[in-house]
Subunit: 108 residues, 2 copies
DNA sequence: CATCTATTTAGTCAATTAGCTAAATAGTAA
DNA sequence: TTACTATTTAGCTAATTGACTAAATAGATG
């Protein structure tokens, strides 16, 4: 999918990538550092990082041979916002239902 | 992926499925009703519902020929919780950093 | 320059996904 | 029973994904 939310959700739909983000929530890290807890090859880790980058969940710097990744929270906020919207609509409906019941109570 | 969070995130990583959930946040709906806004075939819609069901995002009833779907919010709360955890760790680190700076300031 | 470390690219492969049509099943109603 | 509506299953296809190894690139250092 090309839309931003879908990119974000699908980037988050992998436990390795989520673990990486958790690691990055403690501060920037290099590819090798991020790879350490896992048994995957470095190219595999590199690809995971590309997925996270494409979703805007990380940004990458350039320091010597290192390309340190840093967590970016904007897409996470978009996700939180979408969740709130779902709930907000839910609550609006509940309110509407409640008002309807009130009105019917008055008419009965 | 077999873990619950991954199932949830990957179920949410599709705009059609997200639109369905939004629709369901207004109340239960049948497959046909859910299919209406889209140009996809019914089998396709049915498969999307199976994905949502497998992720626990909907539950389905049985009323005559209809199999109405109903939004389930538990997995959404798990997602919200995971997002909070990320941020919570983030904030903890910031606090720690801040305390470090304070201490160094005292030593300087 | 030669080499070492960090990272990415290229190319392969198996599994999964999202769509389709055609056919099967479940339940209602004539 | 037959026919109609709602939904799912089966089987197909093309695209995507996540893993790998081998090789290429970027930069630092002997």
């Amino acid at each position: 999918m090309t839309d931003a939310l879908s990119l974000t959700f699908s980037a988050l739909a992998d436990p390795t990538r989520r673990a990486m983000l958790l690691r990055l929530s403690h501060g920037p890290a290099t590819v090798k550092e991020l790879a350490e807890p896992f048994q995957f090859s470095l190219p595999t880790i590199s690809k995971h990082l590309q997925v996270l980058e494409r979703a805007g969940l990380i940004e990458r710097g350039r320091e010597a041979q290192y390309r340190p990744a840093q967590l970016q929270t904007a897409p996470l906020e978009d996700v939180a916002h979408w969740l709130e919207t779902l709930n907000w609509e839910n609550n609006l409906d509940r309110l509407e239902e409640y008002l309807c019941e009130l009105q019917q109570g008055r008419q009965a």
